[in-house]
Symmetry: C2
Subunit: 117 residues, 2 copies
């Protein structure tokens, strides 16, 4: 058993990937010894109002978003759809996505990136 209750949070500038504004990434665990070979990222992301994550492609992996709180938009390969708590989106290997917070409260979601094996 391992409890990961002192996790490192990091502020990521969305501008680095073509977005706008900062977002918070809290990785639940890190390293192959904890996550295994397949899981690249298992984290909670917090996107402030007015922040747009960079629209990006997944290559060699795929990602799930599980929306915990807040409402905004999810860009699915160029098609923008609403997102709300409880929604689950998958961005497949080779696909593109991002989250846009055009609401007035934080959007929090669980992000799970899995290597394509």
């Amino acid at each position: 058993m391992t409890a990961f209750n002192n996790r490192v949070s990091e502020v990521v500038e969305a501008a680095l990937t073509g977005g706008e504004g900062p977002y918070l990434r809290e990785r639940f665990a890190e390293g192959e010894e904890n996550l295994g070979k397949a899981i690249k990222t298992f984290a909670k992301i917090t996107v402030k109002p007015g922040t747009r994550m960079g629209y990006h492609q997944h290559v060699g992996d795929f990602e799930f978003y599980y929306i915990l709180s807040g409402e905004g938009k999810y860009n699915d390969n160029g098609t923008v759809v609403p997102c709300k708590p409880g929604d689950v989106f998958k961005c497949g290997d080779g696909e593109w996505h991002c989250i846009i917070n055009d609401g007035d409260e934080d959007i929090e979601f669980v992000a799970l990136i899995v290597a394509t094996i």
Copy 2:
């Protein structure tokens, strides 16, 4: 892209694995075509007050719990510790665990089971 917003929820009788009471399991996606080869389960679990999940061993896989809401106990290989929102626990391959809801509100958590590869 795939949006999984019409997910099947199932009520699981904890008694089947030596526990007590029912809990709700809402799988975010199912099948290797959606989850890949490594992910066995990615789900939200809701454990009602008074419910004790069966204390069980993981063999051939490992599991993360990410606590979303509620407070109770986490049995870590026989050692019982408190759990609260934000906590992350890992049950490694070969280890044992369960959740006990001895509080007065639902415990909700994200469960991620990953094959050991």
